[in-house]
């Protein structure tokens, strides 16, 4: 086992070719920041490596897809590699599916201090300090398979600390059988760690979240192995923009009468919890029958504009991307029992809801209302169960509000995108 301590940084999933997702509009004052966020987070990985004076850097794949990253992507990586070369910090890189070796232009040669593992077989590299071996690295780039096989990383026990570097989904039981001290893995965008007596593994995640499916903090892992071979890991937050989902449930709403103060309180708490980060917030508000008037008129757009005006500016803005109303699961029974148009509608809607709109065909509507574009028809007729379920809930809510005589903005959510105006995106 190692007699000297050493430290290394573990990062991956830069996805420099992939911009931030789930954004509905781009305010001018945030456009540049959002555009630069993935690049900035990736650059911070190398800054951290220099700042922490690590012994080596582990990159676990999916840094960028050269064909879609443009000239800036490869140039950026080579520039960062050169920075570490100046500091004599070696880089060990197990490529993933996006940055597969075959995608890398042949004309561009990697610097000598960058070791890119083969995708055909596992390769073993000995990391030495002053000629003295400290760590054995066994790495393999992705060969296209989804799952990482523990058998590919078997290493004879030796006196050095063993580190496996790979990319892909993991099966913990398979990893536990291999004789590896530390698994440095890539392949998923959310960081994750497994530490128990039989296994120490880390999924570093992406340094920058890209969508609301990747909420919360992102960054990389800083690992330090002491002279007794004991590993200590620290997660370093590097993201500049952070996705957050906020939800107000029916139970929470039942105790309040006004939405704005409650949302403001939540926003302030989120800003405090994620200080120093630009936040992208999506609100989900569960409705019950007593709060339906919140959705009428322009109240939703007004609430969204208020939130953006209130919290969407400054050095670290909390930008509300969208407010999503979750329709109530059930409306008052007396409404559907009414011998009125509303009652008739709710009974029809309930029948369709039970069948999840299976028998509601809108092909005739598509044919009648859309211009002759096969693409549009394909889009509009593309039905997924989730879409149908969401559509029936909102359709029931809209129909109910209209038939109750409420003022409903049928184009809510689209007006801010320039619907009905000549506003450019």
């Amino acid at each position: 086992m190692a007699k000297e301590s050493f430290r290394y940084l573990h990062a991956g999933e830069f996805h420099l070719e992939r911009p931030l997702q789930d954004l509905i509009d781009l305010p001018d004052h945030l456009r540049a920041s959002w555009c630069e966020a993935p690049w900035k987070a990736a650059e911070l990985v190398f800054d951290t490596a220099l700042l922490e004076q690590v012994d080596f850097l582990l990159l676990t794949g999916d840094l960028l897809q050269p064909a879609h990253g443009g000239p800036a992507g490869i140039a950026f990586l080579l520039e960062q590699f050169d920075r570490l070369a100046e500091a004599k910090i070696p880089i060990y890189w197990a490529t993933g599916s996006t940055d597969h070796i075959d995608h890398w232009p042949e004309a561009i040669r990697l610097p000598d201090h960058v070791t890119r593992f083969s995708s055909d077989r596992s390769e073993i590299v000995l990391f030495k300090r002053a000629g003295h071996p400290l760590a054995s690295l066994i790495g393999r780039s992705s060969d296209g398979r989804q799952t990482l096989r523990g058998g590919d990383f078997d290493l004879e026990p030796g006196s050095t600390f063993s580190i496996a570097v790979g990319h892909g989904e993991v099966e913990l039981e398979a990893l536990q059988q291999a004789r590896i001290h530390h698994w440095a893995l890539g392949g998923q965008h959310q960081s994750q760690r497994w530490t128990d007596a039989s296994l120490i593994a880390h999924q570093c995640g992406s340094p920058q979240g890209r969508s609301f499916d990747e909420p919360g903090s992102h960054g990389c892992y800083l690992h330090e192995v002491d002279s007794h071979g004991k590993l200590q890991s620290q997660f370093v937050e590097l993201d500049t923009v952070r996705y957050l989902q906020a939800k107000l449930t029916i139970d929470e709403l039942s105790a309040i009468h006004d939405l704005r103060p409650e949302i403001a309180r939540r926003m302030q708490r989120m800003i405090a919890d994620h200080a120093g980060k630009m936040l992208l917030v999506r609100w989900e508000i569960e409705l019950d029958a007593s709060h339906l008037d919140w959705t009428t008129g322009n109240s939703m757009d007004e609430l969204l504009q208020w939130l953006r005006a209130e919290y969407g500016h400054g050095r670290h803005p909390a930008w509300t991307v969208d407010i999503h109303w979750i329709p109530p699961q059930s409306l008052p029974a007396k409404w559907s029992q009414e011998d009125t148009i509303l009652g008739d509608f709710l009974r029809v809607a309930d029948a369709h809801r039970k069948e999840n709109l299976k028998h509601l065909r809108w092909s005739a509507t598509i044919d009648a209302e859309t211009p002759a574009s096969a693409l549009w028809k394909e889009w509009l007729s593309d039905e997924r169960p989730d879409d149908r379920s969401e559509a029936i809930g909102h359709a029931q809510l809209i129909g109910c509000e209209l038939l109750r005589g409420q003022s409903v903005d049928l184009l809510a959510g689209l007006r801010k995108l320039g619907l009905g105006t000549s506003k450019n995106l």
């Binding site: 931030l20 993935p38 000239p71 065909r361």
Partner: protein
């Protein structure tokens, strides 16, 4: 629900306004402008639906003070209610304080009010049950198409909102999302934008390819530069080498000369210095070893001679395995001898035991000997197990049947004893009661009891009939007494007679004779009429009274006759019954009790009778069983005897004696079987013994024959000497062999073992001498081999050195000394050359350059190298310049972040398209579901609404327009005129459109009423735009509509309209002055008094109304308004229906008192 009273405590301009006793049909509120009609309408809405902010802001607090709110008294399902709703200024809730009090005083909440309103909210109330001038004005302000559209909405689903409106809104919203070919929508714009971004992205990605190409170019340039640098380095080294080669030319030539001399000498430099000495030493060693070989050959010859003289016999050795096997069987032989002796003793013992068993069975000597020889006896019966088993079955059957017979006999005796005992008991009981049969006695008693009870019932009936007869007789007496007219009733009856007669006489006198009074036709006619009526009344009363008394008397007398007939019939029945009953003393009740006692005694003996019958049945069964058991026993004994005979036994043998015989037979058979077993085993062992003895004897004889044969080795004198002891050893065996048949096998075996041991000893000696000979042969071969090797070495050394003899070898030694001297000189020259090279140029390269064929090219090569180096340096400079340009371009491309921006915009755009698509789907789903609702409405409700509206329109237009209908699939209404021509709404006049509007609204309200929503219809001056004729028709339509059960409240500020309604007997209320408590009183026009109407006309004003409108066309699809049977209903029937169907409590007043009062007042005023 209908409003009966209104009480406004404070609301807007009204304070303390009361409206009492509103009719359930229609009422008109009249007041000029600013009189507070709208406030009153809003008050009604406030009572129904509370105080929303806009209403609260406009009407609260009250202008003239008072507590905000008020109360209504209404009737509805379940009776009457008082609804009060109060508002407080500090409580901004819409509901306020609502209480609904029922007729039973129970206070209920707002939910009861909701139920009374049919659960419709204010929006439905406004759209359906409130028709205002404002809506008519809006209708008139629309263009033709829009107005037609508005009217269509009323027929195609309207309550809170119009279904058509909503569907249109949804369609328009979707259109804004997807747009059309002419007018692109949101999605179209988004797609265009996306296409632009995609194009830009492709351009930017192409820059990435350019960057990669530049990188490849730079890489190639770098590789070329590196290559040129490498080659320049190589050329510099080569140039230095060429310089060195030129300077090393002379030493190199000198060295080549020395090498040539050495080559010519051809000396053997590998020849060692001591080669001659070594060869001579090897020749000496070879001679010494040849001497040793001769000595070893002599020793081997002596050993072979000794071995050939030994007396060895091979046949003896060949039998060695058999002899050893026989020796190993010695213990078994001893054991076999012992077994034979033991078996002989056992055979003897078994013989003795068998003879003893035979003697015990009494067998003769001859039979005993036959038994010993295992022969079956002729006279011995077969008493084997099989025979005994054959006998066991009949023996067991005899035993079972014997036991069964004994048991049946015992049962017969017991049952007979019990039956006799029971029979005696029953006979004793019957003898006392002089009966012969228990059941017949019981039957007689039951019949007697039944007759006694019937007689008792007849007595009671006779007694009742006698009592009833007495009562009827008394009543007849009373009625006969009433038939005579009492005095007081006579005087009472004479009063109207006298008055009537007097009035008739006075009237006739005034009318005709003028005898006592003046001529007055009016009063005379009246008095005459009244007098006649009074006289008619007197006659009717008198007839009724007399007819009542006579009827009662006749009834009583007929009843009395019937009772007497029944009484006589009952007495006849009693006498007949008495004749069938034996005479008895005392009353019938006592006799019934005695009979019942006797019956109970009979019933106690019933179980005894049943036991007797059971005992007799058991006795019969036991006798049958005994008989069958006796038969079975006889059969079993017959079978036993047959079996004995079959087995050869005496038929008189009993089972016991047979069992004793069977036991002795078994013992004899067992002894014989044991003897047989011992004899068989002894014979087997004897056979084994004889066989073994023969085999040993045969082997021993064979051995002796082999030993007596002469040995092959004993031919020589020495062999004969060695064989002597062996012959001596065999001799005793030969003696023993002569008597071999008598010698024991063990002795023969011992002799054979000794002979075998001797032969083995001789063989061991010969084997030892042979090994010594082989050792000596091996030594001889080794020495011979080394000798040959030494000779070959000498020849090989000479051959290696290239000489044939030692002399030639000495000459070669001298040439070698010369060669070594030249080699020293060559090394010196080589050292000098290498010192000059000093690692600058590889030796081989230098050797190549200085080879004789290349030495002259060195100068030319130097010049060529110098030229190439100049060219390479020039190329490197060019490449470096080009590389700088490529790097700059790459840097420019890499610094462009536009691609990231485009990708971000595209991702955002995709999300926007997704949002738009999702919204479109949501709206489309809403639309489709609403269309389903609309289809249901159009197929189920719209036709009915249009039929009803057609009826109203026909009335409103005086038959000019007869039908409202809609074409299938077209959202338009069409109107048929009286000629059957279908007109679109657009071509109709404004007044006709308003008539259509009112007709549709009335049909809509009627449709709600059919669904159970009965809410007052509130109209605000809706007739103001009609001409007088159409206004009258409309007023009549509204009144008829109210008469169908809908309460209609209309507000108007026009006096002519008010009068119009008043003229058709609709109650009109005039609003009082604002600001002080007051009552909206019934309108009383100041008209000259009219004559009183006849009473009958006052009571039933509606029933006398003749049908005014012609019937509709004979179309079954149309609503036949005139032919409805329930249109004109007598008011009494209505009252009764209301009382019974709605369960109005007695304290509540639901009659049309106000209407009646109004009419009475009108009549009175007239």
């Amino acid at each position: 629900m209908k409003i009966r009273d209104i009480q406004i405590d404070g609301f807007g301009v009204w304070t303390g306004l009361t409206v009492d006793s509103l009719p359930e049909s229609m009422a008109v509120f009249y007041g000029p402008n600013e009189a507070g009609k709208t406030t009153l309408m809003q008050f009604l809405r406030a009572m129904f639906y509370g105080f929303p902010p806009e209403r609260r802001q406009r009407y609260l607090p009250p202008v003239h003070g008072g507590r905000p709110g008020g109360a209504l008294r209404i009737t509805g399902p379940g009776g009457g209610y008082e609804v009060s709703r109060r508002a407080t200024l500090d409580d901004q809730s819409v509901q306020g304080q609502v209480t609904v009090s029922g007729s039973d005083g129970v206070t209920q909440g707002a939910h009861r009010l909701g139920a009374l309103l049919g659960q419709i909210d204010e929006s439905i109330f406004s759209n359906v049950f409130a028709i205002g001038i404002r809506e008519l004005q809006e209708l008139s302000s629309l263009d033709d198409t829009a107005a037609a559209d508005e009217l269509y909405k009323l027929s195609s689903g309207m309550d809170r909102v119009s279904l058509v409106d909503i569907i249109r809104q949804l369609k328009q919203a979707r259109h804004q999302i997807v747009g059309s070919a002419e007018e692109p929508g949101f999605l179209a714009h988004a797609l265009q934008r996306r296409e632009k971004l995609r194009h830009e992205q492709e351009v930017l990605l192409a820059k990435g390819k350019r960057w990669t190409e530049l990188a490849a170019t730079r890489q190639n340039q770098q590789e070329e530069i590196d290559s040129l640098y490498e080659r320049l380095g190589q050329w510099e080294v080569e140039l230095k080498g060429v310089d060195l080669a030129i300077s090393m030319k002379e030493p190199w030539i000198e060295r080549d000369r020395i090498r040539e001399q050495i080559a010519q000498l051809k000396a053997r430099i590998d020849l060692p210095d001591d080669a001659v000495t070594k060869v001579k030493q090897l020749i000496t060693n070879q001679q010494d070893r040849q001497t040793s070989i001769d000595q070893i050959k002599q020793q081997r010859k002596q050993l072979r001679a000794r071995a050939a003289s030994l007396p060895i016999r091979r046949p003896v050795l060949e039998h060695a395995a058999k002899i050893e096997a026989a020796a190993e069987q010695s213990p078994w032989i001893a054991s076999l001898q012992k077994q034979i002796q033991r078996l002989q003793a056992d055979v003897q013992q078994a013989r003795d035991h068998l003879l003893e068993d035979a003697r015990r069975l009494g067998l003769s000597e001859e039979d005993q000997q036959q038994l010993l020889r295992d022969q079956r006896l002729a006279n011995l019966p077969d008493l084997s197990r099989q025979a005994i088993a054959d006998l066991a079955v009949p023996a067991r059957e005899v035993r079972i049947q014997s036991a069964r017979l004994a048991k049946a006999k015992a049962q017969t005796v017991d049952d007979r004893t019990e039956a006799e005992k029971l029979k005696r008991r029953i006979d004793d009981f019957l003898a006392v009661r002089e009966q012969t049969d228990l059941t017949a006695g019981m039957h007689q008693l039951q019949e007697l009891i039944q007759k006694l009870r019937s007689r008792q019932e007849i007595d009671e009936r006779i007694e009742k009939l006698q009592k009833h007869r007495r009562e009827l007789q008394e009543e007849v007496v009373d009625l006969e007494a009433e038939d005579a007219l009492p005095l007081e009733r006579f005087f009472v009856l004479m009063i109207p007679y006298a008055i009537g007669a007097v009035m008739l006489l006075i009237g006739l006198d005034k009318l005709l004779t003028n005898f006592f009074f003046d001529h007055d036709v009016g009063n005379g006619s009246l008095l005459s009429l009244v007098g006649m009526v009074t006289l008619f009344f007197w006659w009717t009363w008198k007839s009724f009274t007399e007819r009542g008394t006579d009827g009662s008397l006749d009834d009583c007398e007929s009843q009395l006759d019937a009772v007497i007939r029944q009484l006589k019939k009952s007495e006849v029945d009693r006498e007949e019954l008495d004749r069938s009953i034996p005479s008895f003393t005392g009353n019938a009740q006592q006799r019934i009790k005695e009979c019942e006692h006797d019956l109970s005694l009979f019933e106690t003996l019933l179980p005894v009778q049943q036991n007797l019958e059971a005992a007799l049945q058991r006795l019969s069964s036991a006798e049958q069983t005994a008989h069958s058991a006796g038969v079975s026993l006889h059969q079993a004994k017959t079978q036993w005897r047959k079996t004995l005979h079959h087995l050869g036994l005496s038929e008189s043998l009993s089972p016991k004696s047979l069992r004793l015989m069977a036991d002795g037979y078994e013992s004899l058979v067992t002894s014989r079987r044991r003897l047989k077993t011992h004899e068989d085993e002894l014979a087997q062992r004897s056979i084994e013994w004889d066989a073994f003895c023969q085999r040993i004897d045969s082997l021993h004889r064979s051995m002796r024959a082999d030993a007596s044969a002469p040995s092959a080795n004993a031919t020589s004198p020495s062999a004969a000497r060695d064989a002597k002891p062996t012959s001596a050893a065999v001799a005793p065996n030969q003696t023993a062999g002569s008597s071999g048949s008598t010698a024991s096998p063990n002795a023969n075996i011992d002799a054979m073992v000794a002979m075998l041991a001797e032969q083995r000893s001789l063989l061991q000696s010969r084997r030892q001498w042979k090994e010594e000979d082989q050792t000596l042969a091996k030594q001889q071969r080794a020495i011979q081999t080394s000798t040959d090797k030494l000779e070959r070495s000498i020849h090989a050394m000479l051959a290696d050195w290239g000489v044939e003899s030692v002399e030639q070898l000495e000459e070669q030694q001298k040439s070698k000394q010369e060669h070594l001297k030249l080699t020293g000189q060559l090394q010196t020259a080589e050292q000098r050359i290498r010192t000059m090279l000093a690692g600058h140029v590889p030796y081989d390269t230098m050797a190549q350059w200085l080879s004789p064929e290349h030495r002259h090219e060195l100068e030319k090569r130097w010049e060529s190298l110098t030229h190439r180096m100049q060219q390479a340096r020039s190329r490197v400079d060019q490449l470096l310049q080009r590389q700088g340009e490529v790097s700059q371009e790459m840097k420019t491309l890499a610094s462009d972040r536009r691609l990231a921006e485009v990708q971000l915009e595209m991702a955002t755009l995709e999300k926007q398209i997704q949002v738009g698509r999702s919204r479109w789907k949501t709206l489309a789903a809403t639309h489709r579901m609403l269309e389903q609702v609309c289809e249901v409405y159009e197929t189920q409700r719209q036709p009915e609404t249009l039929r009803e509206a057609s009826g109203f329109l026909k009335q409103l237009t005086g038959g000019k327009y007869t039908r409202i209908w809609t074409q299938l699939g077209k959202n338009q209404l069409r109107i048929d005129n009286q000629t059957g021509q279908a007109l679109p709404l657009e071509v109709l006049s404004r007044g006709t459109r308003e008539a259509v509007f009112i007709a549709l609204r009335l049909a809509l309200a009627s449709a709600f009423a059919r669904r159970g929503v009965a809410v007052p219809l509130v109209l605000d001056d809706v007739l103001v735009n009609f001409d007088s004729h159409r206004a009258q028709l409309a007023a009549q339509v509204l009144k008829d509509f109210a008469a169908m059960g809908h309460q209609v409240i209309m507000f108007t500020c026009h006096e002519h309209i008010m009068r119009m309604f008043h003229k058709i007997d609709v109650q009109v209320r005039v609003l009082p002055i604002q600001g002080e408590p007051g009552e909206a009183k019934i309108y009383q026009p100041h008209q000259p008094a009219q004559k009183a109407l006849p009473e009958a006309e006052i009571l039933e004003p509606i029933a006398e109304r003749p049908p005014e409108e012609p019937a509709f066309e004979d179309d079954s699809l149309w609503f036949d308004f005139e032919n409805r049977e329930d249109r004109w209903i007598p008011i009494e029937v209505l009252e009764e229906d209301i009382r019974h169907s709605r369960k109005v409590p007695a304290g509540w007043h639901v009659d049309n008192s106000t209407d009646a009062g109004h009419n009475e007042e009108a009549g009175t005023r007239g």
